[in-house]
Point group: C2
Chain length 342, copies 2
């Protein structure tokens, strides 16, 4: 073996080890994909670069944009931002599919509306239910039981219910690129919170195993619970049909204040319901990152915008995003891979 | 130097180093006080031992009482549990002392009750104010401003207002033994939360610097906030006179569910207002620790119980504690030192 000429006198094995270390460090052994890319499901481009740059800048000690660890709060909408929300929010699917079991216990429901329509299985008729009647279904399936009973009802449903188009469990319909973003933030000392219009108790059932977001980091639409004792004297919490927090639109910053008490430095959403959360985030001092997922990929997921009832993304929101420097994520162009099963 | 006879043949410096290491490890260099005692302000005895044993048992990997890190939640009442609450809750003192500044801005208050009485400075008359009138003072001083304005009002007060008996800043009246307990729990992977009847926004102003408890770990009595825009278009949150959560008695487990969403494994209180939190904590599976601070030290702090309006500790609570294995902390006997300035 001939010694490599480097202009200084060291033994060949040392040079080999040194070069190997150099190559490993800069990822030259696997050209194209750096081994340490924390966002492998994102296509290269300004969107991915903006996320990486933000995390780097806010965690670089001594840097101008440094954010101290205790202030590192990143908030994420759930439906449409971290998992599929079409054709209907997962929680609404749960409520509708829960009605048959409910009617077994309370047979009188079988003959009265809106339960009769839901039990008919006629999806078209269900879709036409007025908001007030849909709310009756939600109240009947989401309240009246203890918190522990509710968890015990949701958990098995999450393990068997499947999405009508993808024929997959709902928790498999999480967006891989967003799971990567959440992990990237957490790996850099950020606390990641859900701030979702979905029910806080519903999301808490699966958020830790599905997203790595613990129950105490779920801000969601919340009803009151009432403390009392069961027949054996054991303390219980019962879910009441009384709304405490409607965690949508203006309710999002209000919920953030209630549960977190700090302004986020990064916020991710996908619809008009996230507008106020992004505005509130941006209004703080120092570096901020505001992003909106845009559903423009009918082939791999869905394409919808101003006219969709679920996840409405009006033109005015797109204008506001452009005007204020919020970054719009194109599902079609920015995401190399959407689901883990892809 | 004569070699120490140990029955084996090693050089003297080695033995000295070995003995030194041994002595350091077991704290023999400072007899009486082990250098590594995490609870130096506690007297030796069953109370201190119970705390140390609980933390050890719940964090010992493979042990029967092991609690996984994500489930390690410890909740603390504030007034009377981690700082002085006599002769009146600190926040009520704030509200009363805030009235003069309020009357400067709104002179019409000077002639109407209950503000007239508060402005008179007559403490006896103030103490006699009916609950409803006191609530008017609280509403006037705790609502109507933005969250940021409120913080800016509370912060300087906390830096200058002094306790009538101790002539010390309120934040100096924290109990050293409880600060040590909080730190011990945190050092062992527990999240420490306040669950206080005090105002959530009030406590958040100083909880991080005073107790090491960040804003997102403060569960407290909470009013609604309303999102809107100021004249410049900047998003603001305004404190509304509408109660969302009365974080006292049954409201404590309800608030724990709302903000944390997990049952605590350890809970600390000092009065009838903490009863339900301790019951709820105990009702969970696995190891649990429930403790009540009993104020029986009129000399160093205060002695009060069933007849006190502030921090009521009825005989029935003492009975319940005994019957259920809750540990009552005797301030007089269990605490070697109460305040950092002692």
């Amino acid at each position: 073996m001939k010694s490599v000429k480097l202009g200084f006198n060291v033994s060949s094995p040392f040079i080999v080890a040194f070069l190997f270390a150099l190559i490993s460090t800069f990822g030259l052994l696997t050209p194209g994909v750096a081994q340490t890319d924390p966002l492998p499901s994102w296509n290269e481009g300004p969107t991915k670069a903006a996320i990486l740059e933000f995390v780097k800048a806010t965690t670089e000690e001594g840097g101008l944009k440094f954010v101290p660890p205790e202030a590192r709060i990143a908030t994420f909408d759930q439906d449409g931002t971290t998992w599929v929300e079409q054709p209907m929010y997962t929680q609404v699917m749960y409520c509708l599919e829960r009605v048959p079991e409910l009617a077994e216990k309370k047979p009188e429901l079988k003959t009265i509306e809106p339960f009769k329509t839901v039990l008919s299985g006629d999806r078209e008729a269900m879709a036409k239910l007025p908001k007030k009647e849909l709310e009756e279904v939600l109240a009947a399936t989401l309240t009246g039981m203890t918190v522990d009973e509710f968890t015990a009802e949701v958990r098995p449903w999450m393990e068997k219910a499947k999405h009508p188009r993808f024929k997959r469990l709902y928790r498999e319909l999480t967006y891989l690129p967003m799971l990567e973003v959440m992990r990237l933030f957490r790996d850099n000392g950020y606390k990641t919170y859900f701030v979702t219009g979905g029910g806080q108790d519903f999301v808490r059932v699966y958020s830790e195993v599905t997203y790595g977001i613990p129950p105490e980091h779920v801000v969601g639409t919340a009803g009151a619970v009432q403390f009392s004792y069961d027949q054996t004297g054991k303390p219980i919490l019962t879910k009441e049909p009384k709304l405490l927090l409607n965690d949508d639109k203006a309710g999002k910053p209000e919920g953030i204040h209630l549960v977190i008490g700090r302004r986020p430095v990064a916020a991710f959403g996908n619809s008009i319901g996230d507008k106020q959360m992004l505005e509130y985030t941006q209004a703080g001092d120092g570096p901020r990152l505001m992003m909106l997922v845009h559903h423009d990929d009918a082939e791999r997921e869905y394409a919808y915008g101003p006219d969709s009832k679920v996840g409405t993304f009006p033109d005015a929101l797109m204008e506001e995003a452009k005007g204020k420097g919020w970054i719009v994520i194109s599902m079609k162009n920015d995401w190399k891979r959407i689901f883990a099963f892809d």
